[in-house]
């Protein structure tokens, strides 16, 4: 039999409708966050800092800010999307539906990634109100944003399947991803760090992701764009692999 596109569409629309119910908070949150960061980092602190590698500080933090919010949003939306049916028990219907694992992932991750990209775009637009940002490689930038959204939504999907409580659902995005992103050069360049710390920071995988995204804006990053792309591809493959294994074994989905 052929693919169940209607089933994919049903879940995708269901998930978007779920976001739609909280559309104002979902939209207000990134706008307010961005505004706050620009007031604090851009104006208060940024005024005392000149440029980072030839880029005004206000513009410099835009890619990092987008990534920071998109990472956490992607993870929380995608993990919540699959965790809720597990929690309420409605997952019985999804498991009994004629839907392949790939289709299931496509629907849930596609919906969460859609929301992330919308939020990322809103931050980008809001940033324009405060600073002048030029994007050196617009196509690459869009491509990178899509890929990051999908990858982190895959990661969130894994967490949603793994989590057995609301606390576990929160723990990875808040205690792992947020700090790693913050320390991953979202708001500074690695050049600004002492040599020893710079070496330590290079173990943080998020550094390569943010650096790559910043490269698409300004044509330079902390590491080469090739290294960043390889890191993204690796993370993407890793997430896909884990999800494949989860569906194969029925890990925390089926008894």
């Amino acid at each position: 039999m052929t693919a169940n596109w209607r089933g994919v569409r049903a879940i995708y629309a269901f998930e978007l409708a779920r976001f739609g119910r909280t559309v104002w908070t979902s939209l207000a949150l990134p706008v307010i966050t961005t505004a706050l960061y620009f007031v604090v980092f851009g104006s208060a602190i940024g005024g005392r800092m000149s440029e980072v590698g030839g880029v005004p500080y206000g513009a410099f933090i835009v890619p990092g800010l987008m990534m920071l919010t998109m990472f956490t949003e992607s993870i929380s939306n995608a993990s919540f999307g699959i965790y809720m049916p597990k929690w309420t028990g409605t997952i019985y219907e999804m498991l009994s539906a004629p839907l392949s694992p790939l289709e299931t992932v496509l629907a849930y991750v596609g919906a969460a990634a859609t929301k992330s990209v919308i939020i990322g775009s809103i931050i980008f637009a809001t940033a324009h109100l405060f600073v002048d940002v030029q994007v050196a490689h617009p196509l690459l930038m869009v491509g990178f944003m899509l890929l990051m959204a999908v990858t982190f939504c895959l990661f969130g999907f894994i967490i949603g399947i793994w989590a057995q409580s609301f606390e576990q659902l929160q723990v990875i995005p808040m205690l792992v991803i947020y700090p790693l992103t913050f320390l991953g050069g979202a708001f500074y360049s690695l050049d600004m760090l002492p040599a020893a710390w710079r070496a330590v920071t290079l173990f943080n995988p998020v550094v390569y992701l943010i650096s790559g995204f910043r490269w698409t804006f300004f044509g330079k990053g902390d590491v080469g764009i090739e290294v960043s792309m390889a890191a993204v591809a690796l993370f993407f493959a890793l997430c896909l692999g884990v999800i494949f294994w989860m569906f194969r074994t029925g890990y925390r989905l089926k008894n």
Binding site: R6, A10, G89, Y92, S96, A97
Partner: protein, 312 residues
């Protein structure tokens, strides 16, 4: 009759080591109503969950109209609708949205007219715009049924459909089941209410401790395993069963006003005429008598006790 669902050698051992099902063979005919009876924890829900794809079997094979339910799962699952025992619903969704969602999930094209008729049949049409969280338990149960029927399944599983359901909904449900059967839908229901099986089913399977211990056409089962009891209302109460009547293993009831004789209605010699003759001989008079065929419930309790006895 053609089999629409075939289960062979099915077994399930959970990670904890608990054996929920072992070596179950079952063949369900197209268009029949099959009742799976068993006490709580017997494995009824596990069996259904495996067929529907919610639980992975440890052993055995399931085919739905010839489609292997693991390898050819799309074809198999498209044919099946499931109403689980628990009320699992999306609290914030409206009735119409959640039922339409289910149809899409199973890959069927939108059909507002069909959904409207379905909701009307289940007395849900007036509530179509209500959020599920606003509905009563009985209404939620109806929503679950509507979801299961939204994609026009050929096989419907009802897991404990009338547990905790009021009389009206139970009657509606029985009516609905009969209506579906007339349209050729095969129905498999689990229950521990014997009257439900007795009222609705064509065939009955009894499951106990993960084993399917009996599958039988309902009337044949009652007839085959049916014990009859003869109750004699005595003219004068007696203190004890007279020694002359010891052969019949009678019981005294109703403060000495009743003699109760249990016999096998299928046996060549039931012992009834000889008992009556002997009573007349020894001068015990009776005013009235009646016989009663044992119900499915008596049979069921007897069977389950038997297997428990073996296991102990």
């Amino acid at each position: 009759m053609t089999a629409v669902l075939e289960i062979s050698g099915l077994g399930k051992t959970y990670k904890s080591g608990h054996v929920a099902l072992s070596d179950v063979d079952l063949s369900i005919n197209k268009g029949e109503i099959f009742a799976l009876l068993g006490p709580n924890g017997a494995g009824k829900t596990t069996l259904i969950s495996i067929v529907c794809g919610i639980v992975t079997a440890s052993a055995g094979r399931v085919t739905v109209a010839g489609h292997d339910h693991a390898r050819d799962y799309r074809a198999a699952r498209t044919m099946i609708g499931l109403v689980p025992q628990e009320l699992h619903t999306d609290a914030f969704e409206t009735v119409l949205a959640t039922v339409s969602f289910s149809r899409g999930l199973f890959g069927k094209p939108r059909d507002p007219a069909f959904i409207e008729q379905l909701l009307r049949d289940l007395s849900l049409w007036d509530k179509r715009g209500s959020k599920i969280m606003e509905l009563s338990g009985g209404m939620k149960r109806r929503v679950m049924i509507a979801k299961a029927l939204s994609h026009e399944p050929e096989i419907l599983f009802l897991d404990e459909p009338t547990a905790g359901v009021d009389v009206e909904l139970r009657r509606d449900m029985w009516q609905m089941v009969h209506g579906l059967r007339e349209r050729g839908v095969t129905i498999i229901l689990t229950t521990h209410y014997i009257e439900e099986a007795e009222e609705m089913a064509d065939r009955v399977g009894v499951i106990s401790k993960g084993r399917l211990i009996l599958v039988e056409e309902k009337h044949a089962l009652i007839k085959k395993l049916g014990r009859k009891t003869l109750t004699l209302n005595l003219a004068e109460p007696i203190a004890a069963v007279p020694a002359e009547l010891a052969d019949w293993k009678l019981a005294l009831a109703g403060d000495g006003h009743e003699l109760v004789y249990e016999f096998d209605s299928q046996a060549e010699a039931t012992g009834v005429p000889s008992l009556l003759r002997r009573m007349t001989d020894i001068g015990i008079a009776f005013k009235d008598l009646h016989t009663k065929q044992s119900s499915l419930e008596d049979i069921f309790v007897g069977l389950v006790h038997e297997t428990k006895g073996e296991a102990a």
